[in-house]
């Protein structure tokens, strides 16, 4: 039983782990690295609860093998806040009550951050299409979209 040794970067920190070939990156994050912010909803890339960035690209970590992270840079929900200071998207999710059970929230925040990092001024339609791969069974999405649009406006103001 020889596991595969992987050297990668998680939220800016050099990280090493051992995994089996079939382990998903989501399994590695949650079970090996104990980063349990990323959630497993469907395990088949449909729900977006496990959203992370891989070399800056938004992906479902359930659709990435742990071994594929070799030499890559991973960004998870745990890296979004700076210490005790919430990211503006996180703050706006609280202010707009954009969550109920909260299971989809980490994935939505990671996905929304990827949107605003690449497009600081999305239309509501663009935001809704970008987030179409993040399912929420509680909110009906309206408050989520309001939170994302409000965060975008605030971040543009802060950047100006």
């Amino acid at each position: 039983m020889s596991k595969i040794h992987v050297t990668t970067t998680v939220n800016g920190e050099p990280t090493e782990y051992l995994c089996e070939a079939q382990d998903s990156l989501l399994d590695v994050l949650r079970d090996t690295l104990k980063l349990t912010g990323s959630k497993e909803g469907c395990g088949s890339g449909d729900c977006g609860a496990c959203s992370i960035t891989l070399d800056g690209r938004l992906v479902c970590s359930c659709l990435v093998l742990g071994v594929e992270a070799e030499g890559k840079s991973i960004g998870t929900i745990e890296g979004v806040a700076k210490g005790d200071t919430l990211h503006p998207i996180q703050q706006k999710f609280l202010e707009h009550a954009a969550l109920q059970c909260g299971f989809c929230t980490p994935g939505l925040i990671v996905a929304a951050k990827a949107l605003l990092d690449s497009n600081p001024n999305p239309t509501e339609t663009e935001a809704r299409f970008w987030l179409a791969g993040n399912l929420c069974r509680c909110t009906g999405y309206d408050k989520i979209i309001r939170a994302v649009m409000d965060a975008a406006a605030e971040m543009r103001g802060a950047a100006a």
């Binding site: 690209r57 990435v64 179409a132």
Partner: protein
């Protein structure tokens, strides 16, 4: 059950050796958006996964002599961000970008969409309409084939053991030519095509069609190149008579199944409607060139 092995070879000969040397099932990993789902469900039980993404040339897009070389494992997101490709082949790009969510686009590739061999694959009709070719490498060397020769049935391809796709070639677009892809789904996003249609046309200076390719998806076991539909367009402007002939030719080419997404009759009717609408977009784009 034998343990699963993983390899990410750095050279094409190493990749071929691994794939052709496996005693059991060996699977090629590109973006993994289909393969990982199949692994997890137990639908495929490979003994070896060969990750091709470290191979030279398999990721990225190059403009060559006015045409394009698209690495087989290039993500849909990267394809959508390539300004030159978006301008030259908007139909190929819009078909590719319809695959899955933003997250899936971050990984899903043209080779994966093609070799998963779903009749409903969204990138494939526009690629065939664009006369795209695939460069295949394998134990017996390298060969370049039209994209339409790869899928032979649902889940089945013409690739031999040890072979995989390295890159796709799109020719230099002719003057006054363009393309489009439309699919029908019962919602606005995140669904599988009930019918898909890719159209590529070349016009003369007066808007008369001089060359055309019409390709339907999800209406037969493989994508269908509808020569009769192309014939209906060539030599004509896109007037009502031409549209009616196109519609009839598209419907006549269908050999669909009834399933939860749509019945045989519905799919046939929609194929005609989509052929009209897709052709209209392709003609408008080509005329603007």
């Amino acid at each position: 059950m034998p343990r699963l092995s993983y390899a990410a070879p750095a050279t094409i000969p190493d990749a071929i050796k691994l794939l052709s040397g496996a005693s059991g099932l060996a699977k090629v990993l590109s973006g993994g958006t289909d393969l990982l789902v199949q692994l997890r469900s137990g639908r495929v039980k490979p003994e070896l996964i060969v990750d091709t993404k470290k191979l030279p040339g398999i990721m990225g897009i190059r403009e060559v002599n006015g045409g394009f070389v698209i690495g087989a494992a290039t993500s849909g997101a990267a394809i959508g961000e390539h300004a030159g490709l978006c301008a030259a082949y908007p139909g190929v790009v819009e078909g590719t970008n319809l695959i899955g969510s933003t997250q899936v686009q971050g990984r899903a590739s043209l080779a994966g969409n093609l070799c998963n061999a779903s009749p409903a694959a969204d990138s494939v009709p526009a690629m065939i309409a664009a006369r795209a070719t695939a460069v295949i490498v394998g134990p017996s060397g390298q060969r370049e084939v039209p994209v339409e020769s790869i899928v032979v049935g649902p889940g089945r391809t013409s690739l031999a053991k040890g072979e995989f796709i390295l890159e796709f070639h799109l020719p230099k677009p002719a003057a006054h030519s363009s393309d489009a892809y439309l699919r029908f789904i019962p919602r606005t996003e995140m669904d599988i095509a009930v019918v898909g249609c890719g159209v590529n046309v070349t016009l003369d200076g007066n808007g008369v069609c001089t060359a055309a390719r019409v390709v339907l998806g999800a209406v037969a076991p493989t994508q269908v190149v509808v020569d009769a539909a192309a014939k209906a367009l060539i030599g004509n402007k896109l007037d009502e008579k031409t549209l009616a002939a196109l519609d009839a030719a598209a419907r006549a080419a269908c050999n669909p199944i009834s399933d939860k997404r749509g019945t045989v009759d519905f799919r046939i009717k929609i194929a005609g409607v989509l052929a009209r609408r897709t052709a209209a977009i392709a003609f408008e784009r080509a005329g603007a060139r």
